[in-house]
Structure formats: structure tokens, C-alpha cells
């Protein structure tokens, strides 16, 4: 009972902090919005990477794909996409509030649905590979997407697509973006929390621990792998759609498919917090984001070195991550029993 109350208080205070943050720290709205996005990144990576044992290095693909899908859908509502991109940003769309939010919502929905379809199609091929082959294969998907999009004229090639201008003031837009990422991160957390409590959650753990045994027990391993990746893709696609609108233009190298930054950060954040746990990615993302912002501000020039040291220390000396370490130290908090329980009288000791 006490525990239930503590959990309720924890959730309520996170929610309250999330709502209050942009008003208490108006100068940091963008950074805190990025923090929510990082939490979403880590949580979605951990579905396949931590809970199912499929370490993807290419989840960023869905982020970029969602961004492009959303941009194309949003622009195609008002004008011909090919002409628009051919003008190289010369006729940027200026919309009123109604049109802007309607088309953004349409883009958001399309990016979510489109990314789920892409996850199912790509997953059928990718999940035939295991271990390091899967990791390298997915990395290949992300890297080749960069190259393909930068030569695809319909979506503006390397120049990219200029996004419609937000009708209000920039500060107001920051708040809208903040609300979007805050809402998405909360939705992602609640979704994975629920998923891990279902039969599906246990089944993907079984795939991680012994896939061959899971198959031999008749579990639809391929179907479950596709569902897991689809959930990641669903939220990553929408995160990408918002990121495109926020940045103001969509281009393949730095904005849509930042494989060596965001793409690697999602892995690092999950590992730091403890992969395969519910809270690990949240904690890992928060710590990582704070360290990243601080080093960018105070150690400029050395920021990549500092991050590299963090990653090396994490991977070499602290593989279980923060939550993994807590779980080892206080297993009873997680309902794990380690000592021999007294045998019931009628039970034979085997």
C-alpha cells in the first residue's frame, strides 16, 4: 500500500515538474524539450535493445523517415511537393494557425502510421539476423537512408525541404514543441510500462534470454519482434515529425538521420541507465542529457572527448547500468528472491 502511494507521488511530481518546467525556467524550454525527446529515444531503443536483446544501431532511421513523411504530407495538403522542393525553399509556406495545426496533425499521424509500416517491412528482413549482424544491418539501413534521401529530388535531395513557418512568435513555438515532446515522452513511458506487464512483455524477454527455446515452445517470435519494433517506430516517427517542424527544414545528413549523434546517444543512454529496465532509460537519458549540455557549455572543444570517456567507462566498468546496479544491490525491491525460501512441509527438497 505504502509502495503504491510512493509510486503515485513519484508520477504526480514528475508530471507536475514537466508542466511547471517551461514557466519556471523559460530560458531552458528548448533544452528541457530535448530532454523529453532523449527520454523517448532511450525508452524506444530499449524495447528491442534491452527487453528483447536485439541491439539496433539504426533506430534513428524511423526518426528521419517520420520527419520526411510528415513534411511531405504537410506540404502536399497545400501545394505540389515536387514544385515546392524544386524551388529550394524559395516559396516557403506561410500558414495561419488553423492550417498549420491541421496539417501538422495530419503529418504526425502519417509519420506514426508510415513508420509502423516501414518497421514491419524492414523488420521481416532485419530480424532474420541476430546479434552483431542485426546491429550492423540496422546501422546500414540508417546510413543508406542518408545517402538515398540526399539524392532523392522529390524530397529536395541534399538541400532538403523548408518546413512551413510557424504562424506565431518563436517563444510560443518553443512551448508548443515542448508540449509535444512532453506528451509524447509520457505516452511512450506509459505504453512501454503497460507492454512490459503483459504476456507480450514476458515473451520478448524470453526471446532475449533464449530465442531458440522460445521458438521451440511455439512463441510467434517473428510476430513479436515486429510488434516490438513497430512500437519503437510509432513513437520515433512522431518524434521526428516534431523535430522537423521545430528545426524549420528537413535535410538528410544532420537533421533527419543524425546516426552518430542521436542514433548512438539512444544506445548510450539506455546502457548508462541500465538496459532492460523500465526506469533505466529515463534515468540514463536525464543524466546523459545534463552531462552533454554541461560539457557543451563549459568544455567546448572537449565535449566529444568527455562523452567518449563517459561511454568507455560505462561500457567497460559499468555494463549493468544504474538500474542494473540497483537491482543487483537491492534485489528485493524488484521482487527477486535470492535466498532459499523455506520449503513447505509437504514439499520434498529436490
Amino acid at each position: 500500500m505504502n509502495r503504491k502511494r510512493n509510486t503515485a507521488i513519484l508520477y504526480a511530481s514528475i508530471l507536475a515538474a514537466g508542466i511547471a518546467a517551461p514557466f519556471v525556467f523559460p530560458d531552458y524550454v528548448t533544452q528541457i524539450a530535448m530532454l523529453w525527446m532523449m527520454i523517448l529515444f532511450a525508452l524506444t531503443w530499449d524495447i528491442a535493445g534491452g527487453q528483447m536483446g536485439y541491439n539496433s544501431l539504426g533506430n534513428i532511421f524511423f526518426f528521419g523517415a517520420g520527419m520526411y513523411i510528415s513534411a511531405v504530407v504537410q506540404i502536399s495538403i497545400f501545394t505540389n511537393v515536387r514544385d515546392y522542393t524544386a524551388a529550394r525553399g524559395g516559396e516557403q509556406l506561410v500558414l495561419d494557425y488553423g492550417d498549420y495545426f491541421f496539417s501538422s496533425a495530419a503529418g504526425l499521424v502519417a509519420s506514426a502510421v508510415g513508420c509502423v509500416i516501414l518497421a514491419v517491412l524492414l523488420g521481416r528482413v532485419m530480424f532474420g539476423m541476430r546479434g552483431p549482424y542485426f546491429a550492423i544491418g540496422t546501422l546500414g539501413v540508417a546510413l543508406s537512408a542518408r545517402e538515398l534521401f540526399s539524392t532523392w529530388d522529390l524530397v529536395g535531395g541534399g538541400t532538403g525541404i523548408a518546413m512551413p513557418v510557424y504562424p506565431g512568435m518563436p517563444d510560443e513555438m518553443s512551448l508548443v514543441v515542448y508540449a509535444g515532446y512532453f506528451g509524447l515522452a509520457i505516452a511512450t513511458f506509459l505504453t512501454v510500462k503497460w507492454l512490459y506487464s503483459t504476456r507480450f512483455g514476458l515473451a520478448i524477454n524470453a526471446i532475449r534470454d533464449d530465442e531458440e527455446k522460445a521458438e521451440a515452445m511455439g512463441i510467434h517470435t517473428m510476430r513479436y519482434k515486429l510488434i516490438a519494433w513497430s512500437v519503437s517506430a510509432f513513437f520515433l516517427g512522431m518524434a521526428g515529425a516534431i523535430f522537423g517542424a521545430r528545426t524549420g527544414y528537413v535535410e538528410p545528413m544532420e537533421v533527419a538521420f543524425p546516426t552518430v549523434t542521436f542514433g548512438i546517444f539512444m544506445v548510450v543512454m539506455s546502457l548508462l541507465g541500465g538496459k532492460g529496465t523500465l526506469w533505466g532509460p529515463v534515468i540514463g537519458a536525464t543524466i546523459f542529457h545534463v552531462i552533454k549540455e554541461v560539457t557543451w557549455t563549459y568544455l567546448l572543444g572537449w565535449q566529444w572527448v568527455a562523452l567518449g570517456v563517459l561511454i568507455i567507462v560505462n561500457v567497460v566498468f559499468f555494463q549493468q547500468g544504474i538500474m542494473g546496479w540497483v537491482q543487483e544491490k537491492w534485489p528485493e525491491l524488484f521482487g527477486i528472491e535470492v535466498e532459499t525460501v523455506p520449503d513447505d512441509a509437504e514439499e520434498e527438497a529436490v
Binding site: L195, S197, T198, R199, F200, L202, A203, N205, A206, D209, D210, E212, K213, A214, E215, A216, M217, G218, I219, H220, T221, I336, E337, V338, T340, V341, P342, D343, D344, E347, E348, A349, V350
Partner: protein, 246 residues
């Protein structure tokens, strides 16, 4: 009625002919045994039946359906389950979770899969753990159990899956002799009470003679003899094969 019909199955690993023209039947509702000296092709035949590898020639039918072109998960979803010679359990989860994973997913719809485990699921898991004598250890990590206990857990997991037939690869190997009688008793009860057909590879002659109603004997990849336990026990060819006369 034959639940599994194996007809003229051959399987070679490179130059080694592991199974040569093997035919056999597993009768529905019965306990059938498979014996043979080391390297005689027992596990190869098992693996062929459960779809672990493709066969070179022949036919394997399960409930009148050709299964030699299906793979492990598809065959498992038809209700044919196997345990492994080297026990395979989920070491980082407790026994109850091991049991819950083994729920028959084949008969579940999409929304059932996205549902939580019900009180009945947990009750069934605990009941079966009690059946194999692991109830007192249900909250322990499966990896912390002894080898024999892990075998019992794997057996309970198989029962949790409601299989039509269970293929057991050396269920008593590595188990403490005093426990073997308990295991034989449980295998028989699973067969009688739950109506599960059993097909058992076994090295321990005493065990298989007590357990099986019909026994097949493989030697050098070929079917050497089959019959009732008493007939097999006294068959000169079987005795020769075990003593290495071949």
C-alpha cells in the same frame, strides 16, 4: 492410431549417415521409447521430427499432416513440443515466470497476447510446479536451481504449454538416481492424467523398460528392432549393439 508416422527418413551430415531409411510410429496416448548406443542417431531423428533441420529424404507425418517441410516454431504451434538434452530454461527469471512464458501462445489471439497474466494462469503455473515438486522454489531464479531441478522445471514448462505430444531427450540424464523414480512416476502421470503422448529418448535401460509400452532401437543410424520392452530386452541384436558386437 499413429500420432507421428516416420517413413524412410534419411539424414546425413556431410559424409556421416546419421539416419538411414528409418521408419517408425508413435501411437497416440501411449509412451513410446527410443534407445540405441551413443552415436546411433537418436537425437538426429528427434531433431528431424521437430523440424530442427531438413531431412534428406522420406516423410514425417504428425496427425496425418506432412511436417517434414515445416520448421521448429510451426511444428511447435501444432502441439508438438520437445525438451533438450542440455536443459534450456530462462535462468534470469524465477520459476513462475518460466512457467508463464510457456503458456500456449499458439492458441492466443492478438489481444490475449497484449493482456496481463490472469490469476488462473498463475494458479496453473503453481499447480504444475507443485506437480514436479518445485512449488517451494517457485520464487527463486531458475538459474539458481540444481541441474536436476532445472530438468523438472523444463518438464513442467512443457506441460504448461498443453502439448498434444511431448518429445523428451534423455529426461533422466544427470539426475540423481533417487529422483529418477519420482520422475518416471511423474512422466506416467502426465501421460495418464493429462493425456499427453510421450516419445522418450533414454539411455538408462531400467528407466525405459519401466516407462515405455513400445520401444524402438536404433544402431548405426538404422532401425534395428522394435517391440514390447520384454521382447527388446531379450533381443539378441539389441544386446549385441549395446555390447558393441557390430
Amino acid at each position: 492410431m499413429a500420432m507421428i508416422e516416420v517413413r524412410n527418413v534419411s539424414k546425413a551430415y556431410g559424409g556421416v549417415q546419421a539416419n538411414q531409411d528409418v521408419s517408425m510410429d508413435v501411437a497416440e496416448g501411449a509412451i513410446t521409447g527410443l534407445i540405441g548406443p551413443n552415436g546411433s542417431g537418436k537425437t538426429t531423428l528427434f531433431n528431424s521430427i521437430v523440424g530442427y533441420h531438413p531431412i534428406d529424404s522420406g516423410s514425417i507425418k504428425f496427425l496425418d499432416r506432412e511436417i517434414s517441410d515445416l520448421r521448429v516454431p510451426q511444428i511447435a504451434r501444432l502441439g508438438m513440443l520437445r525438451t533438450f538434452q542440455q536443459t534450456r530454461i530462462y535462468g534470469n527469471m524465477n520459476c513462475v515466470k518460466n512457467m508463464l512464458i510457456s503458456m500456449p501462445h499458439r492458441s492466443m489471439g492478438f489481444f490475449e497476447i497484449l493482456g496481463k497474466h490472469t490469476a488462473e494462469d498463475i494458479e496453473k503455473a503453481e499447480h504444475l510446479l507443485e506437480f514436479v515438486g518445485l512449488y517451494g522454489k517457485r520464487k527463486l531464479m531458475a538459474g539458481d536451481l540444481s541441474f536436476g531441478q532445472q530438468k523438472l522445471l523444463e518438464f513442467a514448462m512443457a506441460l504448461m504449454n498443453n502439448p498434444k505430444i511431448l518429445l523428451l531427450d534423455e529426461p533422466t540424464a544427470g539426475i540423481n538416481p533417487t529422483l529418477i523414480n519420482g520422475l518416471i512416476d511423474r512422466l506416467k502421470r502426465a501421460n495418464e492424467e493429462f493425456g499427453i503422448t510421450l516419445f522418450v529418448i533414454e539411455h538408462n535401460m531400467r528407466v525405459i523398460m519401466n516407462l515405455a509400452e513400445h520401444i524402438y532401437c536404433l544402431a548405426h543410424g538404422e532401425m534395428l528392432a522394435d517391440g514390447k520392452p520384454d521382447a527388446i530386452k531379450n533381443d539378441q541384436r539389441v544386446i549385441d549393439a549395446y555390447l558393441g558386437a557390430h
